[in-house]
């Protein structure tokens, strides 16, 4: 109990740091959780399109332009060809549709007119192309069997009027799970900071060369002493984990009392163990207390930014995600994503388990490295 009590006393001296990291997670997670993450339907967007109509007299071209006006946002750009090219380059418009002079004639003859489409190349341009080609496809199909222009236009419009009812069906409470994902991702930063900073700081006091020498020459069995030290670190980490899990109930709500909530909690527990093992390993290398703050900040912030804690991984370049694979945080965040978005957990249970096993693997590597370094250091104490 002597070692345990002293461990607690040293922690008590650093309580302000723990509070700071806890406040960080509450503030940041709360701010991010304000966003409604629920996916309950969709709305169609109107891409910006510029239309150059060289056949303003024909009814067919007028009908096409009217269709574009209804389904896209037609933008008029005054100026030279360069100004128009700039508008396309700077994504002010997604594409330029040029209706040829013989558009009406071709339609009457049942020939597909050559409509020129210049696009900006992004996903909105693809959407514009889809809208345009839908009209032209129907027009071409109708033109092959109808020769009268008015009847043809009537037929095209009738075909386009057909709307499909879209219903978004999901049993997932995407809003609450999105919040849970945000919370648990942010908790990774705070839990890791609280554990790394405090455990490294406390262990550096115990591992300080003169203190360790005095411990080795004492009558306390060194194995028991090491076990007491480990137990103290584990107890502290467990309390940190428990606190953040209780906080998750406050922040996320009753969704935590579900299978998915339980998996979130288990995932966080395994991550806590890896943070403890990392802290144990680091403390074997770090002897100077001044270095601990810097190194812990670099590690926790680095892990968080590279692994998608602060910035969603969709926005991270592939090489960054490649590097993130060598950090436990990445696999933890991956699991948070799987738990919150997959309709059927049974279908991705293997993926979840593999990610958890990878985090356990990191824990073992950190712990074994720490033990080897510690034994070597004892020999040369």
């Amino acid at each position: 109990m002597t070692v345990f009590n002293t461990f607690l006393k040293v922690i008590k001296k650093n309580i302000v740091t723990i509070i700071i990291y806890t406040v960080i997670v509450i503030v940041f997670a709360a701010a991010n959780m304000q966003t409604d993450n629920s996916v309950t339907g969709f709305i169609s967007e109107k891409p910006a399109v510029m239309v150059v109509n060289n056949d303003i007299e024909s009814a067919s071209s007028k009908n096409f332009e009217k269709y574009l006006d209804e389904n896209t946002n037609i933008v008029k750009i005054e100026g030279t060809e360069d100004d128009i090219a700039d508008a396309l380059f700077y994504r002010d418009i997604t594409c330029i549709v040029t209706i040829p002079k013989n558009f009406g004639e071709c339609v009457k003859k049942g020939i597909a007119p050559e409509v020129e489409i210049k696009t900006s190349g992004n996903e909105y341009a693809a959407f514009s192309e889809m809208i345009i080609s839908q009209y032209l496809r129907i027009q071409n199909a109708c033109a092959k069997r109808i020769t009268d222009e008015n009847t043809l236009i009537e037929s095209i419009n009738k075909s386009l009027d057909k709307k499909a009812e879209v219903e978004f069906i999901t049993k997932l409470n995407t809003g609450a799970l999105g919040k849970a994902k945000t919370y648990f991702n942010f908790a990774a930063y705070s839990m890791m900071s609280c554990i790394l900073f405090i455990v490294c700081l406390v262990l550096s006091s115990f591992n300080e060369i003169s203190v360790r020498k005095r411990t080795i020459v004492s009558s306390m069995d060194y194995k028991k002493y090491s076990f007491d030290l480990f137990l103290s670190g584990f107890s502290y980490s467990f309390v940190v984990w428990l606190f953040f899990m209780l906080l998750s109930i406050v922040m996320v709500g009753e969704s935590m009392f579900s299978l998915r909530g339980l998996i979130f909690i288990m995932n966080a527990f395994v991550f806590t163990l890896s943070s403890l093992a990392l802290a144990y390993m680091l403390s074997c290398f770090l002897l100077k207390k001044n270095a601990i703050t810097g190194i812990v900040n670099v590690l926790t912030l680095g892990f968080s930014f590279l692994c998608g804690v602060f910035v969603p991984e969709e926005y991270l370049p592939s090489w960054v995600l490649g590097i993130a694979h060598i950090m436990p945080t990445y696999w933890y965040v991956q699991n948070n994503g799987i738990i919150s978005t997959n309709e059927h957990l049974s279908g991705c249970i293997n993926e979840l388990l593999i990610n958890i096993l990878v985090v356990i693997g990191f824990t073992i590597v950190f712990a074994v490295t720490g033990v080897i370094v510690s034994i070597n250091k004892r020999k040369i104490a």
């Binding site: 002597t2 040293v10 020498k213 080795i216 020459v217 306390m220």
Partner: protein, 332 residues
């Protein structure tokens, strides 16, 4: 080659009667090698019950290596070490229970108060909380830091910090105490307090192995002294017997601003003078015996018009012994 000088008078038989006390530490043929360097070279000595043995030597002479080897903090190359009659090993916890160690470096937790620090280190030996509380209070009293119980180490002066360091090492009432240069960088007041405390510990029955390079301390508190250099024992005995090895009865020093070389040679020719040295400010003349050496020195200086500021006579010191045996100063 240096030969070990053993002094003829036996401290124990002469001052404590004929009963030979129990050997607390027995070191035989201790050798510690670092690649090609022999830090400790075939060292053999015993420490007896309730004595204060001083291990004296310059920095790098092998004092700390010897202590670390005895405590099993270092693997030694050859030799044997017994404490309380049993072989000392890293897992000899029954032996360690009765050992207290005060290292050269202050070994305390910055985050704990004075009281909590002593309580922690005492707790490594004593589990019973009530008993421990008594022991901690006693240790605080012995080193005289009762007014600073709730202070943190950062708030203490260097001297008080050293006292705390000692309290942490003795709180569990060990029978054998190792003190490795405990007064380094300590103010005179704290030093006296520490030395008095060490004497008190011996009075209470502890055996003490004290290493230092301060000869005055060794002279002040040690019953027996071992002088080591380059990992070897070069002399062993009580302070007085060791001083006889120096072949000096008296040393007279005169502070003189400038002195020609001839004067030093002339001083060597004074009656009973064995040596004369001038270091730029002080002329020191050693005498093997004789009376009126001071008068003759004054006459010598006056007759030759050498103006001196101060003139004083000294008894030989352990430094002179070391100089005699090794040809170099203890603090080199």
């Amino acid at each position: 080659m240096l030969s070990v000088q053993f002094c003829t008078d036996n401290f124990f038989t002469s001052e404590r009667g004929s009963n030979v006390p129990e050997k607390i530490i027995e070191v035989k043929g201790l050798t510690k090698e670092y690649k090609e360097l022999k830090a400790v070279d075939d060292l053999s000595f015993d420490v007896y019950e309730k004595e204060i043995l001083g291990l004296l030597g310059p920095n790098g002479s092998g004092k700390s290596t010897t202590i670390n080897s005895i405590l099993s903090l270092l693997k030694y190359s050859s030799g044997s070490i017994k404490i309380f009659g049993k072989e000392m090993t890293p897992s000899a916890y029954d032996i360690k229970r009765d050992i207290g160690v005060i290292f050269q470096e202050v070994a305390v937790f910055e985050e704990l108060t004075v009281y909590d620090n002593i309580d922690y280190f005492c707790g490594l030996y004593i589990r019973d909380k009530k008993k421990r509380r008594e022991y901690v209070e006693e240790a605080i009293e012995v080193v005289g830091i009762g007014d600073y119980k709730k202070f943190y180490p950062k708030q203490l002066s260097g001297g008080l910090l050293r006292r705390l360091n000692i309290a942490c090492g003795i709180a569990h009432k060990p029978k054998l105490i190792f003190l490795d240069e405990p007064t380094v960088a300590v103010d005179p007041q704290s030093r006296n307090h520490i030395l008095e405390g060490i004497k008190k510990l011996r009075e209470n029955g502890a055996t003490i192995l004290y290493t230092t390079h301060y000869m005055e301390e060794v002279e002040q508190i040690c019953d027996r002294i071992i002088i080591i250099d380059k990992g070897k024992i070069i002399a062993e005995g009580s302070s007085d017997s060791l001083k006889r090895l120096a072949n000096i009865e008296e040393k007279i020093s005169a502070e003189i601003h400038s002195l020609p070389e001839k004067a030093v040679e002339d001083a060597k020719k004074l009656k009973y003078a064995t040596d004369a040295v001038y270091d730029g400010t002080t002329l020191s003349v050693s005498y093997s015996e004789g009376r009126d050496n001071l008068t003759r020195m004054v006459d010598f200086l006056r007759n030759n018009n050498y103006h001196y500021k101060k003139l004083y006579s000294e008894r030989p010191t352990l430094n002179d012994v070391f100089l005699e045996l090794t040809g170099k100063e203890l603090r080199d």
